[in-house]
Amino acid sequence: MKFLCIGCDTVMDFTERQLPGDGTFAAVFSCARCGREVAMLANPMETQLVASLGVRIGGRTLAEQPMELVRQQLAEGRDDAFVEPAPASRGAIRWSDDARQRLANVPGFVRGMVKRIYSDYAAERGISLITPEVMDRARADLGLEGM
């Protein structure tokens, strides 16, 4: 899919992705010539179709994780199917109580991967306390629908 600014005959560039957390996603495209912005709003089925391909509209800021698609998409995975590597000593990253609670709601099958991704995200940005807001931001940045 491409967005063309008809007046400028210019292809609009991807600028931002948003995941409101209700199974939908939005991708913002803008015209570099006139500055016009459009938001592509995808319904849950369209969102799922893109996710099924294992791609992120707008590209990835985080490399694809091993078996990421299976881990994100399988509905009834075994809780202890995978073990993640012990986290590198990345200073003291703490989780707020509500962030911890939200992580606990993630299915065990994929929780290890999610936890590591959020921890890496925080470490890379010098964030020492993971809160639900940090998780929201990371989710949109990383394109992690449903986590």
Partner: protein, 298 residues
């Protein structure tokens, strides 16, 4: 009506980076295969003819003689290879290099949906719109790609891929394993099997797969009381199929309850000391495969 450029006339990048990501997935797959000498698909088209039992026996026999062997269970919805090879059920370790395969009998490296699913759970995918069938096949292809590309197989002499039944599934598998060293088609002497496997042969030939072979399973029943071997099916479909298509018949394997019993307990019969005709036939099939792949002298 305003005239504006069509999709194919717009050549500038959009920043959505979707084709790049798909390409990266395929590159990862190719990188993984570059460390695998031979990929052998065990398929049929027909269900229940012994693909998994033969896959397990081939993998075990090859590993037992010291070869580095992987076994990928491509039958996502009817996984059986992990049990047949007694693969460890310990959690699979994830590293930047991929997911470590489970280790089964004789050191075979195994990946199967069976290792990932909760007990007795079927394969079901997340389904926000209650229209999961729309993307089911996309997800299955993606899962299969990850089974091959995201597993830290290490360097392998052989990767045995146990295919699911159905010629459509075989086609999907070929899109991910475009250059298998061989495809072993398991059939039985029955007419039904002959017709289904003939379709698979056409499909594989059209795809340009260079080395096709047949294994006729359940080709006779040895009476344990009198020791005589009688045909199990009235027809002789496998030989007819070989003659009609020119696909070589690499093995005729007898029906032997010990094959089922041994795979059920995760100890393929080829690992037992010589003596049983079934085990001998499976070992001969293993030799034939290695000979055809020029891994041993004929």
């Amino acid at each position: 009506m305003a005239r504006f450029r069509t999709y194919n006339e717009v050549l500038e990048p959009t920043g959505a980076k979707v084709p790049e990501q798909v390409r990266a997935q395929l590159e990862r797959l190719a990188r993984r295969f570059s460390a695998i000498r031979h990929t052998v698909i065990v398929a049929s088209g027909k269900g229940g003819v012994g693909k998994s039992a033969i896959s397990a026996n081939l993998a075990a026999a090859l590993a037992a003689e010291g070869r580095r062997v992987g076994a990928a269970d491509a039958d996502l919805n009817g996984p059986s290879l992990a049990r047949m090879l007694a693969a460890s059920t310990a959690p699979l370790a994830v590293s930047p290099n991929g997911v470590a395969p489970a280790v089964g009998v004789a050191g075979v490296r195994v990946v199967s949906m069976d290792l990932l699913l909760a007990a007795d759970a079927p394969v079901r995918w997340r389904d926000p719109g209650h229209a999961g069938f729309v993307w089911q096949s996309t997800l299955e292809t993606g899962a299969l790609r990850e089974f091959l590309a995201d597993v830290d197989w290490g360097a392998l002499d052989l990767l045995i891929v146990d295919a699911p039944p159905g010629t459509d599934k075989l086609q999907r598998l070929l899109s991910l394993v475009p250059r298998p060293s061989a495809v072993l088609l398991v059939t039985t002497p029955s007419e039904t099997a002959r017709h289904v496997v003939a379709r698979s042969i056409s499909l594989l030939r059209a795809a340009g797969v260079p080395r096709l072979a047949l294994a006729a399973n359940m080709a006779g029943y040895r009476c344990p009381a009198c020791g005589r071997t009688e045909p199990l099916f009235a027809a002789d479909g496998a030989r007819r199929l070989a003659a009609a298509t020119g696909v070589p018949l690499w093995a005729e394997l007898p029906f032997d309850p010990a094959i089922a019993a041994s795979t059920d307990v995760g100890r393929p019969i080829v690992l037992e000391p010589a003596g049983s005709p079934a085990a001998d036939a499976l070992r001969a099939l293993t030799r034939r495969l290695l000979t055809e792949l020029r891994e041993v002298d004929p």
